[in-house]
């Protein structure tokens, strides 16, 4: 079996699986590398093997993923699970870890869909044991059927309400919902109401979720601000302000959430061009409508390409696969245009809808850009905002200089939890747009590798350029 493929796809979420299905249908040789034990990404995590007796309590957006996962499992695709990609070479060479060994594939065209991660929530005490993300509550529920009674859910965004509703349906107690969506959210979002009305089913579902939480009698604190976690060595509660008054609610567990952002370590390490997306307040790869990046043989799809959600990701995956087939000379320009049109139209309407959500649930500056000097910005190297400020005053004006001086972003998470905070802090301190500040320079390997594994590396030779290799 050859290790050279027409199309290699990284990540088996809705975007990656859809790209693989389209490419296989079009007759390409396709390999998919996915870090998890089963395909589905975060959204359709374990949807075909739920640990729950009745997975329908998780909602139809989840259960309808089963069909896609099943189609993916049946198609003529080279599937590799537990395959954690740690390097992508300029020639299409992909190195990944599997069973503590590094393996290799070569791609003529690469479609990468590393997905999203939750936006960091750098408030006082967010590093304490007992503080997790709302996304983690979903992960634990979907994969392990594991829940936590009596927790506080705090922050903003549809995912926060969804997990609370899921918990309530399962009889899990919720101590409080502390909602940081500002009072002006509705007004800000109204200019995008046209986009929202293009997806009435989503709007209705959203309202029903809120109603469900209300009816259950969970205390909801609206328009909360200035969140901080109480506790010395572990979380004991959450303090916040509402209507000018300070409140505190006791809980040994707090789930935080303020939206999701592209998981950009792979696209950054590749040197793909990025820009600061003002609407979504995050760094985003710069791409065309087919997901084509600034590197000729690489496309980026799914939420890693900018947050659009699972349904849009399916269309994006198909578009990137069609474009890859066209670049490989296996699909004419006319067929590309014709087969792309429905997907392009769908993407446009999802984008309009997303504008509404982005405006409504925009995370407030105080929870993105820490103002208290003792708040940790970098969790791994334990660098507080005050220490970063001191580094800035010593002359570190950009993220890489600050990293060199303070070690922020040098820990095992490779900047995932502090990168956006550092970009925004430096922008505020210099009164410059974030786009002028930039982001950490990232490099391979993109995961922790043991010396044992690296020592086998002598057997691996650089790949030839795909153009020099015959099929």
């Amino acid at each position: 079996m050859s290790d050279i493929f027409d199309i290699v796809i990284i990540g088996a979420g809705p975007a990656g699986m859809s790209a693989a299905l389209e490419a296989a249908q079009q007759g390409a040789s396709v390999a998919v590398l996915d870090r998890k034990a089963t395909p589905g990404g975060q959204i359709y995590r374990d949807v075909t093997q739920s640990p729950l007796l009745d997975p329908s309590v998780l909602g139809s957006e989840y259960t309808e993923g089963a069909e896609l996962v099943e189609a993916f499992m049946e198609a003529d695709i080279d599937r590799h699970q537990n395959a954690d990609v740690w390097h992508i070479g300029e020639t299409g060479e992909v190195l990944y870890s599997q069973d503590n060994q590094t393996r290799r594939l070569v791609a003529r065209e690469l479609i990468i869909s590393p997905g999203a991660m939750e936006r960091p929530f750098p408030i006082e005490g967010w590093h304490l044991p007992g503080v997790m993300t709302a996304g983690s509550a979903q992960v634990m529920l979907k994969s392990d059927g594991m829940v936590k009674d009596g927790a506080i859910f705090a922050g903003t965004g549809p995912l926060l309400y969804l997990i609370v509703a899921q918990y309530l349906r399962l009889g899990v107690t919720v101590n409080a919902v502390v909602d940081t969506t500002p009072a002006g959210g509705v007004v800000r979002a109204m200019q995008y109401i046209g986009g929202a009305l293009r997806k009435p089913a989503y709007l209705i579902k959203g309202l029903m979720l809120l109603n469900e939480i209300h009816r259950a009698g969970v205390p909801i604190f609206r328009h909360a601000s200035n969140l901080s976690v109480l506790g010395e060595s572990k979380s004991v509660g959450l303090q916040f302000e509402q209507d000018g008054r300070t409140h505190s609610v006791n809980a040994d567990h707090i789930f935080l959430h303020q939206g999701v952002i592209p998981n950009l370590n792979m696209t950054r390490a590749l040197g793909i061009e990025h820009h600061w997306a003002e609407q979504q307040l995050c760094w985003t790869p710069t791409l065309d409508d087919w997901g084509q990046s600034s590197i000729p043989h690489i496309a980026v799809v799914g939420d890693a390409a900018g947050i659009q959600g699972a349904e849009a990701a399916r269309h994006a995956g198909r578009l990137a696969a069609l474009k890859a087939m066209n670049k490989l000379g296996k699909l004419s320009e006319a067929s590309l245009q014709q087969q792309s049109s429905d997907h392009l139209r769908a993407m446009k309407s999802f984008k309009a809808f997303r504008s509404f959500l982005d405006a409504y649930y925009a995370p407030t500056p105080e929870h993105r850009i820490p103002a208290a000097s003792n708040t940790l910005a970098c969790r791994c190297e334990e660098q507080t905002m005050g220490q970063l400020r001191a580094g800035f005053e010593q002359g570190a004006k950009d993220p890489n200089a600050l990293k060199a001086l303070t070690r922020c972003g040098m820990g095992p998470c490779q900047g995932r939890q502090c990168g956006h905070t550092v970009s925004e802090l430096l922008a505020v301190w210099q009164n410059k747009p974030v786009s002028d500040i930039g982001y950490y320079r990232l490099r391979s390997p993109q995961r922790l590798l043991s010396v044992d594994e690296l020592s086998q590396f002598q057997n691996i030779k650089p790949a030839k350029k795909p153009a020099e290799v015959s099929a």
């Binding site: 044991p129 997790m132 993300t133 996304g135 634990m140 059927g145 594991m146 998981n263 791994c380 922790l448």
Partner: protein, 109 residues
């Protein structure tokens, strides 16, 4: 305490968490197995030595690093349990690593 809503018919495997043999559901993530047995401490903070626990449960925060079968820095949330697995909360800090290096070079001389 975390609790499990897993279907009752699930098969189990036995693993050792911090010196104690426990039964956990086959296919569990190591983090879930630990949390369901009250072992929520994963690593220590490298500089301050403070206790840490899992934050994201999906592989992006690296707070859940633990020692699996003697190998440190394994992400518990991305590891699936296996029969006979030996897991320890890890106590590596900058101080302990420096002490280890010092001892190694002293032993060498």
């Amino acid at each position: 305490m975390f609790r499990s809503l897993r279907k009752p018919e699930t098969q189990s495997v036995s693993i050792n968490i911090n010196g104690q043999m426990v039964q956990v559901a086959e296919g569990s993530s190591l983090w879930a197995a630990m949390a369901l047995h009250g072992e929520t401490q994963t690593r220590l903070a490298l500089v301050s030595g403070q206790q840490r626990s899992a934050y994201c449960a999906m592989g992006v925060c690296f707070e859940c690093l633990v020692e699996v079968n003697g190998v440190p820095n394994q992400q518990a949330c991305l590891t699936t349990v296996e029969e006979g697995m030996h897991v320890c909360s890890q106590d590596l800090t900058e101080q302990s690593i420096a002490a280890l290096h010092q001892k190694e070079s002293a032993d060498h001389e």
